[in-house]
């Protein structure tokens, strides 16, 4: 797994990558990521995470989600990291 080799630090501020647009698909009401010659429809989890990638740190995103959904922060943090790593690898998300 990526976490053993390249852990994403709590302090990173993930952002939607340049050239990628987060948008509502009015035909379905779902959120999509639009990029050159590609469209990804987000599931509920990814949508909740990405809508918070606005300059907040990873630990702030996890904290906000844990409060909103009354969930265990440790479990949530693993899910968030996995989603971010996946999107980062596809160059849809910048992690800096």
């Amino acid at each position: 797994m990526f976490m053993t080799t390249n852990p994403i630090s709590d302090a990173v501020r993930p952002r939607i990558a340049k050239g990628v647009r987060l948008q509502m698909d009015s035909a379905t009401g779902k959120t999509v990521l639009l990029f050159p010659e590609g469209i990804v429809e987000l599931n509920q989890t990814a949508q909740e995470i990405l809508s918070r990638c606005d300059g907040r740190t990873l630990s702030e995103i996890v904290h906000d989600l844990a409060e909103e959904y009354d969930a265990d922060p440790a479990t949530l943090a693993a899910d968030v990291r996995e989603t971010l790593a996946d999107l980062h690898e596809r160059r849809l998300l910048e992690i800096a």
Binding site: K18, V32, F35, P36, E37, R91
Partner: protein, 394 residues
């Protein structure tokens, strides 16, 4: 089957182009003539008549600015989320920034697919201000001499300058290389060029054989050894650059044993509007499948064309499939492959794509591969020329 909705509109705004690449997928025949049947063709709507436009600004037959704006609005209403401005060279249209603006107003993601020729500082600024989301810039190779030979024009240095202008304007940049026998051995150098230009994404697309590329196939098809080496290079580069630059490698399908899932299904995700307003399920359909009747946006709205027209319904879903597709577990994955390829290689668009190992026509593809691999000497190609009936960019 529930009616699918389109996600992407390919707007081929002109066939005019300053380059002459022998692998161009544009039709070889005159597009205006090709869209006008020699004898009137009867269909549900009655007698089809000629539809040569009377418009003064685009007397060469191209849709006008207002017509394109209407097409863009109708596409957005149908569910389209993304538009690619293509051609020909879309910069040959002076109203391109206005069309980009209209697409952004319709909430579409806008991508310019360009050779870069004609992209000066003013136009980069105009396009950025219009809200252009991304530029996909084509290169012919990493070497200036080879590139210019392939393009049939002095283009490489101008493209490098254009890439710098796009970077300076902070517009996201993708690079596109069409891969064929003359440049496939330089795949790693082409990837390095994309890195040095700080592209977000590079598409390395093995040439697909439609239009001019079909005519020039013997000169363009790589050998088996070349393909095998290139695959290794692409896989290694993809791993090395993960998270830095997205690499999209399009396989050479003649060397595959299963067909590509062309368009992700006919009339399912994509639609193309060509320069004169014909609406195509696939950009190469008008030249590859001449017996299919295509509708025009001047006569019909996009919604009807997408839902009801013969051209969009003919190969939609799986009911049209013959064996071996009809009973194949892959039929909803590869959709029987490419209709245009079936038409071009077997003479019948309804056949299974002959790339498929289960196709009764696979021997056609094997014979082509045998020919190339038994004699890999360089062969001449024919350069693309602009359609004579369309005005050439001044």
């Amino acid at each position: 089957m529930t009616m699918p909705r389109p996600y992407t509109l390919l707007a081929e705004v002109t066939y005019r182009c300053p380059l002459h690449c022998p692998y161009c997928s544009n039709p070889i025949a005159l597009p205006v003539a090709a869209s006008l049947p020699a004898t009137p063709k009867f269909h549900e709507g009655g007698c089809e008549t000629t539809r040569r436009p009377q418009d003064g600004d685009y007397s060469n037959g191209e849709l006008t600015t207002d017509e394109w704006k209407r097409v863009i609005r109708e596409a957005a209403a149908l569910g389209v989320l993304q538009i690619g401005f293509s051609g020909g060279e879309p910069l040959a249209r002076r109203d391109l920034a206005e069309l980009v603006r209209a697409a952004r107003e319709a909430n579409l993601y806008t991508n310019l697919i360009t050779s870069g020729i004609g992209l000066g500082d003013d136009r980069v600024r105009d396009l950025r201000d219009a809200g252009l989301d991304s530029v996909q810039l084509s290169f012919q190779s990493d070497q200036p001499d080879l590139s210019d030979e392939i393009a049939g024009a002095l283009a490489h240095q101008r493209k490098l300058d254009v890439a710098a202008k796009i970077r300076a304007a902070e517009i996201p940049l993708s690079l596109n290389f069409v891969i064929h026998r003359r440049n496939i051995d330089r795949l790693s150098q082409m990837i390095e060029l994309a890195e040095s230009l700080e592209a977000e994404r590079v598409e390395l697309a093995n040439v697909q054989f439609y239009g001019w590329a079909f005519l020039n196939r013997a000169a363009l098809l790589p050998t088996y050894d070349q393909v095998a080496r290139a695959r290794e290079v692409a896989i290694a580069a993809k791993a090395r650059l993960a998270g830095t630059m997205e690499i999209f490698y399009v396989l050479p399908d003649y060397y595959e044993s299963r067909p590509k899932p062309c368009l992700n299904g006919w009339g399912r995700r994509y639609l193309t509007v060509n320069p004169i307003g014909d609406v195509l399920p696939c950009p190469t359909a008008s030249s590859a499948i001449p017996d299919l009747h295509f509708e025009n946006v001047r006569a019909r709205n996009l919604d009807w064309i997408w839902r009801e027209s013969e051209s969009f319904t003919r190969f939609r879903g799986t009911d049209w499939m013959p064996e071996p597709c009809r009973s194949c577990p892959q039929r909803e994955i590869d959709f029987g492959g490419c209709r245009c390829q079936a038409a071009l290689l077997t003479g019948n668009a309804t056949n299974t794509d002959p790339v498929c190992e289960f196709s009764p026509n696979r021997a056609i593809v094997d014979a082509i591969l045998r020919d190339i691999n038994s004699n890999d000497a360089a062969r001449d190609w024919t350069y693309r020329v602009n359609p004579k009936e369309l005005a050439v960019s001044s």
